[in-house]
């Protein structure tokens, strides 16, 4: 047989073989294999999609949590500030009250002292008058009469009251 010949026998057998091969492979090989490949690709795609979706969700949750955390921290700071301010306020109040109290106490003490001083002066004045009277009596006992006594004492007393007024 020649190199360039195309024998009818081989032509017929090639047609038969190829058609049979195509039919058998189509039904029993290509359809299952291609189906399996498609299914696997779909599964992989689904897995990837799921993973991406889950990641997006996780990121959203994370962001939300971070936001909440920031809010909580701000809230805490605010509360702390308020407490500090309130404390400051209270401190000032207490200090003011204490200062007022101490001033009142001081004033009362002052007044007390003045009062006592006044009383002391009064006491001293009356005792001084008595002493002066008694001394004058002793000096004048021998030279003056009773009437003179009375008159001189009244005069001295009047003078003393006038001066101490």
């Amino acid at each position: 047989m020649d190199l360039l010949s195309a024998e009818p026998g081989l032509i017929v057998w090639t047609i038969v073989t190829f058609l049979l091969l195509l039919g058998i492979l189509w039904k029993f090989a290509w359809n299952p294999i291609l189906g399996a490949l498609d299914a696997r690709e779909a599964a992989i795609q689904k897995t990837i999609d799921d993973a991406e979706r889950l990641q997006a969700e996780a990121e959203a949750v994370l962001k939300e949590h971070q936001q909440r955390l920031a809010e909580a921290r701000a809230e805490g700071n605010r509360i702390l500030d308020e407490a500090r301010q309130a404390g400051e306020h209270m401190k000032k109040d207490i200090l003011e009250k204490a200062r007022g109290e101490s001033e009142k106490v001081l004033e009362r003490a002052h007044r007390q002292m003045e009062l006592e001083t006044e009383q002391a002066i009064q006491t001293i004045r009356t005792q001084a008058a008595d002493l002066a009277l008694r001394a004058a009596e002793k000096i004048l006992e021998r030279s003056l009469t009773g009437a003179d006594h009375r008159r001189l004492a009244d005069e001295a007393l009047a003078e003393l009251v006038e001066r101490g007024g």
Partner: protein
């Protein structure tokens, strides 16, 4: 020119003459390697030095339907394909191991890079079985020629012609089904071409429709034949020149060409299927 050279040239002439006689008197070619005898189809499968198998001759309806060497190798290729792909298809879960893994890579390549890349993902799906069968059948037949005692059915015009014919049928039917017979016939005269050019354009376009599968047929045949011719010529030089010095050079070159043929076996299977896919797409979308 030395005496030895003259002797070599004489031998070359003798061998060339013997080769030219072809298969008719293969045993007479004592001085060389009968290349045509090795590449042509035959009713005998030779397994030197073990002997040979005479294949049955069948005559039906006035046709010579004898089983020949290439018929047998074609069946071996088909059987190997069935042996690999049918068990692979029964695997459940879509996870393949071992040799199936390699075939999965090839199948995915054929599907994505040959069919989907040329016809489109949606439109291409129905063509995958046909083009994958074409690809693997051609690949296996190409590779069988590289096995010891093997033969390449794709190095025969009958085989490549039939495969090209199937491609042509699929190409034309896709065009007719997708566009409808009328629009498809109209594409013989491309739009924008003046009507008076139709008598020229229609024959040219019709020839074009036949030229594509014809080129497929010749390309595959020529590529597979040429590699074998070169390898046999390289090895034939040893017997022609009858010099031990030639052996390492001849075998070295033959080995190089053999490896090249291994590559070409894949490339030609790829080219045949990818061109079929391209032509199908052209036919589906004329102009």
């Amino acid at each position: 020119m030395t005496i030895q050279d003259e002797h070599a040239v004489d031998t070359l002439h003798q061998a060339a003459g013997a080769a030219a006689h072809g298969a008719a008197d293969a045993h007479g070619a004592e001085e060389g390697v009968d290349i045509v005898h090795h590449l042509a189809d035959s009713h005998v499968m030779e397994f030197p030095p073990f002997g040979e198998i005479h294949l049955p001759e069948i005559h039906l309806f006035g046709l010579d339907l004898s089983i020949t060497k290439y018929t047998v190798y074609m069946w071996i290729a088909a059987a190997l394909l069935l042996l690999i792909l049918l068990p692979m298809a029964r695997r459940r879960g879509g996870v393949y191991h071992g040799i199936y893994n390699a075939f999965e890579a090839l199948i995915v390549y054929v599907r994505d890079e040959i069919v989907y890349a040329n016809i489109g993902r949606e439109d291409g799906r129905p063509y995958v079985p046909f083009i994958a069968t074409l690809f693997f059948f051609i690949l296996f037949m190409n590779l069988l020629g590289l096995v010891p005692y093997g033969g390449t059915p794709t190095g025969n015009l009958a085989v490549t012609g039939v495969l090209a014919l199937f491609s042509m049928v699929v190409i034309e039917i896709s065009g007719i089904v997708v566009n409808g017979p009328v629009r498809y016939a109209k594409s013989l005269v491309p739009e924008g071409v003046p009507l008076f050019l139709a008598p020229i354009m229609i024959p040219i376009e019709i020839i074009g429709h036949f030229a594509k599968p014809f080129a497929l047929m010749i390309r595959l045949f020529a590529n597979m034949t040429a590699g074998h011719v070169v390898i046999l010529s390289m090895l034939g030089l040893i017997f022609l020149l009858k010099a031990w010095l030639v052996v390492p050079i001849s075998v070295g070159f033959a080995l190089f060409i053999f490896l090249l043929e291994l590559l070409i076996a894949f490339i030609q299977a790829y080219i045949f299927s990818v061109l079929t896919a391209v032509f199908i797409n052209l036919s589906r979308h004329p102009h």
